[in-house]
């Protein structure tokens, strides 16, 4: 394709979102465009348009835009309720494209942009001018949108239109609502367990609605949700643990490319995965020290009891079948050892494999009376990787590491700067998993501070070196740091 202006579309071109087979092709074209936009955006942050990489990738982006503008009146990215729409069609991401998706979404939000529209007549040079200005105007402040618009006007960018974010897209009180949802989940699970004990119907419809809400909060506020999973032993261990597992499984299911309804089913399955523990005597559940063989036998029955309870629920037909799978199978290992032992089945459901990963992660990062050691989140990740392929499905585990980062959100870390901080959010770029966003909680001398959140990918412009790097993960319990409080404080 030559570099002349993008031609005006044919008269029959439409702006309505495509459907059916056309939708699939458009979805592919949309993802391709998103990836190219992301690449150029990254390059444009560092280099000017004369740079070879900028030129090469910029041309590819231009070609992608031109291909769509041949068929459509415009190419419009729009942020709507946590989703990214291209010409009105929701772009679906998979595990491989999640980082890009999140990154572009953040790029738009950071600039208070709700919609970004490329119009016919856009030239390559104009696109380069736009990308250069867009990528470099990063800092979020009150006037970011107005300034960007002014910059674009000054640079005579006429075939790219921006739309300011609307009130309904601005997340007000987001963390507060997310935290309330967390505690509400514990209340509902406790109530569900109690109803089960009293042989009363469990309010499955409420659970489903709650799972949908959790999904919404993960879409809107994923980093904070991960942060909340640092809350441990709130109310009873099993309740708090089940909610954590539910949150992490929902987030992981989303990364793995499950559909919305599948994710809700997965969430419900994770939510009830330990229902069988209501049948395990508390003196066994909370026994300090090693269980006897007899006690272990009782303990190992909880998956079976949970599955049986779910089957016998009067309203079990409103439950996803996979909830029964997960309750029964979440202690079966990838190599099919573990418990219980099936008489016939020779496979484990995908949902059970997902829940197994997050279940173990949350369990081993929680201090328990019977466990002599609990692991930091970073240690847990490494320990689990040792069991990849035997205990855990290697692909799901890898996707989990990808989601959580090497230093998962909530990890207490010492930085090369001497400061201590808590991992606040992971870097959406998978290549920068070792460089998350960190909230500083001490200065370089160790004095406690309610510090800012810093980006470990940030470089010193003078030396070109990273300003801060994680030097070592620390055990929060050793230093009396209540990690969860730092997240909850944001929700007040």
């Amino acid at each position: 394709m030559d570099e002349k202006d993008i031609a005006n579309p044919t008269p029959e071109a439409r702006t309505a979102p495509p459907r059916g087979a056309e939708s699939k092709a458009f979805q592919r074209a949309g993802l391709d465009l998103l990836i190219r936009f992301h690449i150029v955006d990254k390059i444009a942050k560092i280099y000017d348009p004369k740079n070879d990489a900028f030129q090469e990738q910029g041309k590819l982006l231009f070609e992608s835009l031109a291909a769509i503008l041949k068929e459509k009146d415009e190419v419009s990215f729009r942020v709507r309720h946590g989703a990214l729409l291209l010409n009105g069609m929701r772009l679906k991401f998979g595990v491989g494209t999640y980082g890009i998706f999140k990154s572009v979404l953040e790029e738009l939000r950071t600039r208070d942009v709700e919609a970004l529209t490329f119009l016919p007549g856009l030239s390559l040079d104009e696109l380069f001018r736009f990308m250069s200005l867009f990528a470099k105007r990063e800092k979020k402040d009150e006037g970011v949108y107005a300034q960007l618009v002014a910059d674009l006007d000054a640079a005579e960018v006429e075939h790219v239109e921006l739309e300011k974010i609307s009130a309904e897209e601005i997340a007000q009180g987001l963390h507060k609502n997310t935290a309330r949802m967390f505690f509400l989940s514990i209340v509902h699970l406790k109530e569900s367990f109690a109803r089960d004990q009293r042989k009363e119907p469990i309010k499955i419809n409420t659970t489903r609605r709650l799972m949908q809400s959790i999904y919404n909060h993960i879409v809107e506020d994923e980093g904070f949700v991960h942060g909340l999973t640092n809350i441990k032993n709130h109310d009873e261990y099993t309740l708090n643990h089940s909610v954590n597992v539910c949150l992490l499984a929902t987030a992981l299911g989303r990364r793995l490319g499950l559909s919305r309804s599948e994710i809700v089913d997965l969430g419900m399955a994770a939510f009830f995965h330990d229902l069988g523990k209501t049948e395990t005597p508390l003196d066994i559940l909370n026994k300090p020290g090693k269980l006897t063989d007899a006690e272990r036998t009782v303990m190992e029955k909880h998956p079976f009891h949970g599955a049986e309870k779910l089957v016998l629920l009067k309203e079990f037909r409103h439950l996803p079948l996979r909830a029964i799978h997960v309750a029964l199978e979440h202690h079966i290992k990838e190599d099919l050892s573990g418990y219980p032992r099936y008489f016939k089945k020779d496979d484990v459901n995908l949902f059970s494999k997902i829940v197994k990963v997050v279940d173990v992660f949350d369990a081993i990062t929680t201090k328990r009376v019977y466990r002599t050691t609990d692991f930091t989140r970073a240690e847990a990740m490494s320990l689990m990787l040792e069991q990849s392929g035997t205990e855990f499905n290697p692909i799901i585990l890898k996707a989990f590491v990808n989601m959580m980062g090497v230093f998962p959100i909530g990890s207490l870390v010492a930085l090369t700067s001497g400061e201590v901080g808590i991992v606040h959010d992971i870097n959406p770029d998978p290549k920068l998993l070792l460089r998350p966003f960190v909230k500083l909680i001490t200065d370089a001398e160790g004095k406690k501070v309610d510090g800012e959140v810093v980006d470990l990918a940030e470089r010193d412009p003078g030396t070109g070196r990273f300003r801060r790097t994680i030097a070592a993960p620390l055990d929060p319990s050793k230093y009396g740091v209540e990690v969860a409080d730092y997240f909850l404080a944001q929700a007040q």
Partner: protein, 623 residues
Amino acid sequence: MPPVDSDLPDGPAAGAVIDPARVEKIKDLLRFLANTASAMKIFPSEHATVKNFLDQLTRKFTDFLTTNQKLQIGIEEYSFTFGGKPVFSDDLTIKSLPFFFFKDGLQILFFYQGLDRQEIQEFLELIAAEAQKPAEDSDIVAALWERDFPNIQYYAPDEFLENRILAERSDSETRQELPELPEDFAHETIEVHVDSSKFSQGKIELTTEDREEVRKGQARAEYEDVTDGPTAAAEDAAVPETPVEKVAGKKSSAAAMDPTLTEDELSSLESMVRVNRTISPEEEFVNLIAEIIFLEENIANCQASLDTLLEYHFDQLQRGNFHVAMLIIRKTHELGQHLGEAPEKAALLGSFRKRMVSPKTVDAVQTLLAKKKAMDWESLLGFFALLGPPALSLAADLFDIVPGGEAKHKILGFITEAGSSNLGLLSSLADNARPDLAIAIIGILSQIPESRGIPHLSAFLIFQNKEVKLEAIHALGRSRAEMANRILLGFLNDPDEEVRIQAAMKLNPDEGGARVQQIVREASAHEFQGKSLKEKEAILSFLGRTRSPEALEFLRRTLGRAPLFASTRVLEMRLAAVAGLESMGTEEALGVLQKGAIGRTKKVREACAAALVRLPPAGGAKK
């Protein structure tokens, strides 16, 4: 997906001037929306009325959204609002569209430009489907969430869910007679209280060990800066080990790995997700419950699980999922083979299989047929085949309700196959109320090799239904078995004359010899004369066919009986004897008939002459 701001306005900001013409358009559109929704609760989407409504509604939406981009409607208990003012009201609680949304916590609906007829139709179909559910199962917000329309969004605040969950807890407490939490305190349980002032108080002094780890980490970071990246560093054995790696004890720790999934891994992942979607949920459920029963040690719980499975089985039957019934029966057989050391459980399984043989199966089929649903007969009969003979009664019931055609033929095929090995059970299925089935069973019984089915035809001796009895008689008449004749003789005592006549006509003379004397005695009795001519002819014809000397003697005697003033009954006996002799057809019989042909009673004379004409001439007669 709802935005999180709970103070969203429904449309223009308060105080803004709203174009009255625009408001009128919205009122008209919402009225049309409600009417179309009502129509779709009654008629299917392809109904002309609905199509017309949808076309008009689409035009109104397109018209509005072309100029306004978005329509944002507030939802109150019985009204829709725009700009805070009511634009549509309906206070009929049961049918009110605003209330239908309101009850589940939906507060705002957004319709965006790009909304087309298909999406509008799907939206209204969703409303219709939810409205038809029982109140406790219906939740329009949950349904909208799941459907995830591209151009119809909604806002339902989390507070609604919060209140619902807390109300459910409160309801439990009330029922347990626990003191109910005051409302404020109930909400307190989910409030966040953190003293953030402590974040700035004190100091963190790293332990010596941690300080050493930090030092190593700093050295490592320096090294990575020089060698340009952690990957290169991780491969270099000389690089200090990170604490993460130290814990794991190996270099393959999280820090050292590239967590980006490779193309192959992505492909495997997609395959796992795809497979997960194609698993038959029914098969999985049956497999799971079999595993649970296998693992269960408590017999009462086992029974409960089996009860659930049975309920599931009937539920699937009602849905027409007959293949699930096959799955269940196969699985329980398989499970049974693993229960050698658990005889109690094995017994429960046996009982479970018996309980599967239930009239509910037939009811389900009947309902499906009434609804004109496509039927998977192969699976249903496959299920019956797995159940074995006990399923015969179900098949018999089905045979009776299924209209003719291939399905009936298939069911008959099953009854034939399964019934052939259990003839007593098969014949017991026939009854007066189901003549078609009884006739079919007669057909099956009569075709069983070696006449094994014939004895079971005696069951029809006591039937009321004449058609069935005649069918049995015909079947018996076709058989050469002695038993068939014995049964036919039984039919000679039937209260129905036609049955008796047909039975007599079908009697096999070769097997009936032993009974000649008895029949002669009966035919000689005064009561016999009271029978109709046709019956007399039938019985005496049978005697003739036996060609026994006793029969010949009786017929000769009867024909020759010519009192001066003979009654009609006597005349009929003589005419019947003519028929008997004609049937006999022997030379002796011809001789008797020749004598009769010259007798003095005209009618007898004529009958004998006619019989002689029909019979071959003397010499050609049977010996």
